[in-house]
Symmetry: C2
Subunit: 345 residues, 2 copies
């Protein structure tokens, strides 16, 4: 079969790899229908030179059709359309039972020595704990929306929950990437009354407004802080969603937060040379909550809302390619020609 | 009148200063009955050489008797015994109304250019918003317990609330100083079922056990993490209270937290060369909540519990001195001969 491998900086190749086979009775093999490229996939892509450790499978967002299941698998059957969260999890350990599936004692993330999602098929460990069947056919037009539940929509939802968004909340979302946009949609879905989107790309802002943003702040740094303070009678925003993960975005997130407020964060920490602005956090009691999103925990609830049309996060995919064109998807996202590239197999 | 001034490293003096007078109609003048020395007072004391900016009044914890009030003051009268939180606040701004009195738009902290608490009298700005009258006489034996509500008990309570402590919670408290010990008492008061105290001083541990600690971990660093993990079936502690503020205590706090757990923190950030361990926080969804404690918000509720005997935090004072002996109080705390020194005027 074919799969995407990262060989190094700017070096993505679609190559022949062995077909996956069941190796544990708790495994399933899933034939991929849709996959996509994550902003975090670009980190390795942007690191110059050959990849440390040699080429590796890549991609952690996919949905597909179950092809085969191990003897102990009971919740999915061959032929089911299933959504895979970006981490697998056994579903039974204390962390899974507490809803923190990303800390599962048997958990892991696709790629890097295991099968990646950007390929024709994937061996899925702990299939019962990991996969969520969707009552749709492989040609359902809602598949792209369902694919977002593999990562970005669940991650945006995690940021909103972590920030404590409730009906009537005033919210700021930092970042107009796919996660930030899904964060806007998640905050809107949770009933936020005011959603200030900090972003500056017209195409993305347009989606953000469609998803529920009520205000847009294109400024950056101190100017962005001034603008948000102006919008809030100088008080700041009680619920801030940090969807980038860089030093500048963190500094802005804490600076615009209202005293006693919360920064919900999902941007993978990247750089952060100066660390979190702990003194400002301390002085004004700004809480920080979030991390890698346990999207498995949110899948059933978000799935229901996609199926009944309450939410449609699919506009974050603005580029559709075949698996063979995966390298072009990376290039397009790297050059910001695309928000998020989807691969249709 | 006499007051304590910090002249520089290891240089505390009790000197004559002008008597305070009302300068705004919202002021009160309070004659101090009890004051005390805070661990944070030691920072300036430990910084070698003369103080930048010259000598300054010091001390931010006190209670006393109202001597005089401005024309607009309505909630306290001359003769009232009152408790002063370690910051003043107007009580009416949006941050005060939200319970974050430490971010009051008119707020400030005693000392450093204003009157300090370690003196015979203090001009109190925004007396209505700041002072809390206690229905006791100046010779009441509960005054030392009430004095803790000026800072350490309210701060321990803030750490517990920030960490999300509820009835039945499993909690760890890092630090066996006065704040950590009050944190133990606060967690116990909130109904925590298990309270693991990380500390290593026998006298302090004894108070911690009296306040409700169920387990004591004297180890430090990696050994402390190992020990706490052993105590919790490898899972970690859901509610961690960080009551120190140093790099090592922060690293321990995050390392012993259970995935999805919360570190409630009140230790003033001090050092933190490497910053918060953001990658560990991200990977296991460890939240961080807290900061400078808005003790004014908690005073009425904690006052009631001191008055009816539900809590008695006064054992944190293990050294009682006169105002003239304030320098000895600093030396005793600096040399760890005392947990917390109280000055009786």
């Amino acid at each position: 079969m074919k799969a995407t491998l990262i060989h190094g900086g700017s070096d993505i190749r679609v190559e022949e790899v062995p077909d996956p086979v069941l190796s544990e009775p708790t495994d399933a093999v899933v034939r991929v229908l849709l996959s996509c490229i994550c902003g975090s996939d670009l980190w390795g892509y942007r690191r110059p030179g050959p990849r440390d450790g040699g080429p590796a499978r890549i991609g952690h967002e996919f949905l597909g059709v179950v092809e085969e299941v191990g003897a102990e698998v009971t919740t999915v059957r061959p032929g089911d359309v299933v959504i895979a969260p970006f981490t697998w999890s056994d579903g039974t350990c204390p962390h899974c039972l507490a809803g923190v599936h990303t800390s599962c004692v048997h958990g892991g993330i696709w790629g890097n020595g295991t099968d990646g999602g950007q390929g024709e098929a994937v061996r899925v460990p702990w299939a019962d704990g990991t996969l969520v069947p969707a009552p749709v056919t492989p040609d359902d037009e809602r598949l792209p929306a369902l694919l977002t539940l593999s990562d970005v929509m669940g991650t945006g939802h995690h940021a909103a929950l972590a920030a404590g968004v409730r009906p009537g909340s005033h919210v700021a979302v930092i970042g107009d990437g796919a996660v930030g946009l899904c964060g806007v949609l998640a905050a809107h879905r949770l009933g936020a009354e005011r959603i200030v989107l900090l972003g500056r790309h017209d195409d993305r802002i347009a989606i953000g407004r469609r998803f529920g943003a009520t205000d847009v702040v294109p400024e950056r740094g101190d100017d962005a802080v001034t603008r948000v303070k102006e919008l809030t009678d100088g008080l700041g925003i009680p619920h801030v969603m940090e969807c980038v993960g860089m030093q500048s975005s963190w500094d802005t997130a804490v600076a615009i937060a209202r005293p006693g407020g919360t920064v919900g964060y999902v941007g993978v920490p990247n750089g952060l040379e100066s660390g979190l602005p702990i003194r400002a956090m301390f002085s004004d009691n700004i809480a920080v909550r979030g991390g890698v999103a346990p999207v498995r925990a949110y899948l059933p609830e978000l799935l229901a809302d996609v199926l009944d049309g309450t939410i449609d996060p699919s506009p974050v995919f603005d580029l559709e390619l075949s698996l063979d064109d995966a390298p072009e998807g990376y290039a397009a996202m790297d050059e910001r020609r695309a928000i998020k590239a989807m691969l249709r197999l």
